[in-house]
Symmetry: C2
Subunit: 514 residues, 2 copies
């Protein structure tokens, strides 16, 4: 009987061995995932710095199932010395802060590099500049066993045009033909939520997909924030104590937590019976457990400030939807900020009706889901949004899911989206999130009901008008003849008045609800 | 405009920040996951070494939502110097080989330790011995930022009884009341697939759940194997070349690959036009790409040997099902080994009918899914098994899912189960796997149809016999009276013969199909 053979593996090795977890199941899925991860990094590099995104994506078929993907952005750029790590070391990145961003795992871009390496023996080629006099070119691969970048080639080049941005190029084994519907859908849905972005995609057949910005208004970029006391755990508080210079607990709470002022801190410490003058380093492990448990449930902390969030906002959301569907009616709601376990989040929802929206087969519902502006294309049926849509009694809103041309849109933005998987496929059903989605959709549903009933009233008015229009002349003629008169009464005036009235009420209705 | 703040985080930090990915969403789910992960490690420590498992699990409510879990096994034990790493460093373990085991990620046990630490500030307490004169006690926690074990306490104790095994104790924040149904179900389903294991669970209310072994027969433990050429990628072959001493490609292939002999290697190299005498270290990157691509598709490699797999086998599977359901009929099929992308796998399936199996409400189906002997309790509707059950035309087998007391069982064992998530929740629908599950269930369905139609025939025979039994005496009496005789014919003999005949055919039928 021999013992077990023990060994440690690197995190790169872990994700190499379990790449299906990050969305690299097979060539089809990998093609989609690589495009998505690189486009998201490109968009984040722009939006986080209020740069209007110009993203160009080109996918080239090199034969034998090998593709070359090139993604170029006009974002902030990556500093020279960080490039090897930002593209060649897993779990190295700029996204480990409390701020909303698309990427949260510091994983996707590097998984794309890794996948290219193991399927096509390719290096990633990166060109980047922050707008200075130089731009930098690297060719990199990953030492998977040690999770370290290997620099194959590097060059410093002059940058006379002061170009700023990043170009990434990767070769990999893929299958564009089967991945195509998802990829096009990804771009289409991205353009809906980003009406201020220019996105260009040239596919391997040379077909050009262009999504031009229709506005230069951008939502304000998200701010970085301190942790909220409701979202704390023991590990976090220990780290904060170790890196803090505060000599009293009162100071420590006020300096390190989101929206905790002196008064709040004092009344909290009083409620847990801990001396505010105590040095946080003197807290015993059992005190820390007590402190954390009380923090999580103490209900007088102010709710998290949504300043760290960057919603799309009703106007931009509506513009994106109108560009795509040109609907007869669209209503958008933004909920007030809420929080789950200390993570602030905001839900935005929309319902659009008519226009280019098709009537889908029964059992299907047209749902567009977004999380931190990322469209979610897989696993709709596990998502909390679907759960909510199935729960709502649509008949109450006179909405017939099976026979009306409807599209639903739900966007949740948060410092931490409760994803169920690394592949960012669907959102777990946290009760707080579920509640907000439900009420956002119900508000939209109410607006749609008002529109539909106004429309119905207008229809009735129109029908009434056309009946009157048809018979009034005849009645007028009859009565004139019966009365043995020669001139008919001036019914034209009545008709005109009725027509104006119908039109006015139509306009009033639409202005009111749309 | 400031630049991005870049930093690297440890893998422990990654999983700490994204613990929902590993099944630690909330206290309810975490309670279930911790129990499961530790029980699985305990079972693996026994079964991999042909030790009949004795696993005792005790969960104690310590108040304030804090629980203490103690899991004891009689397995192989952990060597003294490995204990800190095996429990305090994520991605350190004994399971990174090509061999079937429950754990594949080297993650679950450590995530339990990490979760205990961040929710209850607890250390993990480990006592282990490999059966020598000493046993070892450690109290550990994890330095999450550096992914290193912190030894809080260690002791070497005498082991006069030469006890062998491991005891793990963790405190954590949980919710047993809401996790209870899943936990009990987990133990019940585990006992079905492990009829040779003693499992004891004492819950926080002091209720004792006992699953005693009913056999001492165990399946043979899985063997470690070399990689199959169909499952190769560029990274793997580069690593193999770096660690190989072979000076020719022929030697290299024969020594490093599963089921590749000299003849196979030669004909493969001929087909790709590479010189067998070439030194593998002289292969250029483009040669390696070519070699790997050809290896993946070359169809003359022998299929993987299932010796590395440890199925439960029809006899043991049936025994487990009978113990749990005492069904009227049960049929088990084991398919021949198959493979997907170079990973061998075997599907075993069973259908049981009657006995203690309830008739479930329509729309529900009683399905027990296992992967490498782990019961899968979540996300049934995403699992490939459910897809197959919905696809099969059960009417062809005279099986009525809605009105018959039926239970379905599917077990897949493989060196690499195609899980979709780290939480080991459900199996991706690889076509090869889907095919095997479909045919396994169809074979079972055919057997069940045969049984049901035999049963129907027996019923007819019985009904016929009882009619004859009732009327033969009357007919006999009538005919005797009509013939003016005094003594009736000896119809008793005829009845007895018919009865014997009916019974015999009944026994024959059951022996034949059961």
């Amino acid at each position: 009987m021999s013992g077990e053979k023990f060994k440690a593996i690197s995190v790169a090795d872990f994700f190499y061995k379990n790449r299906e977890i990050a969305g690299f199941d097979n060539p089809v899925r990998a093609t989609y995932t690589i495009v998505r991860e690189l486009v998201e990094n490109a968009l984040d590099a722009c939006e986080q710095y209020s740069i209007l995104p110009d993203v160009r994506v080109k996918l080239i078929d090199e034969g034998n199932s090998i593709y070359r993907l090139k993604v170029e952005d006009n974002g902030i750029g990556v500093p020279y010395e960080q490039i090897p790590y930002a593209f060649g070391q897993i779990l190295f990145g700029s996204k480990y802060t409390l701020r909303q961003s698309r990427g949260i795992f510091g994983l996707g871009g590097k998984m794309a590099v890794l996948y290219g390496q193991i399927t096509a023996h390719s290096n990633v080629k990166v060109i980047s500049s922050q707008g200075g006099y130089e731009k930098y070119m690297f060719e990199l691969s990953i030492n998977i066993q040690e999770n370290k970048p290997i620099i194959k080639k590097k060059e410093v080049r002059p940058n006379p045009g002061r170009w700023r941005g990043t170009i990434v190029e990767i070769k990999f084994e893929g299958d564009y033909i089967r991945a195509k519907p998802k990829i096009i859908e990804y771009f289409r849905q991205t353009s809906i939520i980003l009406p201020y972005a220019n996105i260009l995609f040239i596919d391997p057949d040379g077909v050009l997909y262009r999504f031009d910005r229709i506005t230069t208004v951008m939502p304000k970029p998200p701010q970085e924030i301190k942790p909220h006391p409701h979202g704390i755990d023991i590990e976090m508080i220990n780290r904060m104590i170790n890196s803090s210079r505060s000599s009293t607990l009162l100071d420590f709470l006020v300096n390190n937590f989101h929206r905790v002022g002196v008064a709040t801190a004092l009344s909290f410490l009083k409620s847990v019976k801990i001396d505010p003058e105590m040095n946080p380093r003197d807290l015993k492990p059992e005190d820390i457990v007590k402190l954390v448990n009380k923090m999580k449930v103490y209900d007088k902390f102010r709710p998290p400030d949504p300043d760290c969030l960057s919603c799309i906002g009703p106007e931009l959301f509506k513009a994106g939807i109108i560009r795509e569907f040109n609907p007869e009616f669209v209503t958008v709601t933004q909920r007030k900020p809420s929080a789950y376990s200390g993570h602030p989040f905001i839900v935005e929802a929309a319902i659009a009706y008519g226009g280019r929206i098709p009537i889908v087969p029964p059992d299907e519902i047209l749902v567009y889901r977004y999380a931190n502006k990322i469209p979610l294309l897989y696993d709709l049926h596990n998502d909390v949004t679907m759960k909510v849509i199935k729960k709502i009694n649509w008949k109450r809103y006179k909405i017939d899911l099976a026979n009306m041309p409807l599209a639903f849109f739900v966007h949740i933005c948060s410092t931490k989206i409760p994803y169920k998987t690394v592949g960012k496929e669907y959102i777990a059903d946290r009760p707080e999130v579920e509640y907000e989605i439900e009420w956002a959709l119900k508000t939209c549903a109410r607006n749609l009901r008002i529109y539909l009933s106004k429309k119905e009233k207008i229809n009735i008015a129109h029908r009434r008008y056309s009946i009157i229009e048809k018979y009034l002349p005849i009645i007028s003629q009859f009565t004139t003849e019966l009365a043995n008169e020669n001139t008919q009464p001036n019914y034209e005036k009545i008709l005109k008045r009725l027509q104006i009235h119908a039109k006015e009420s139509e306009q009033r209705s639409i202005i009111q609800v749309n």
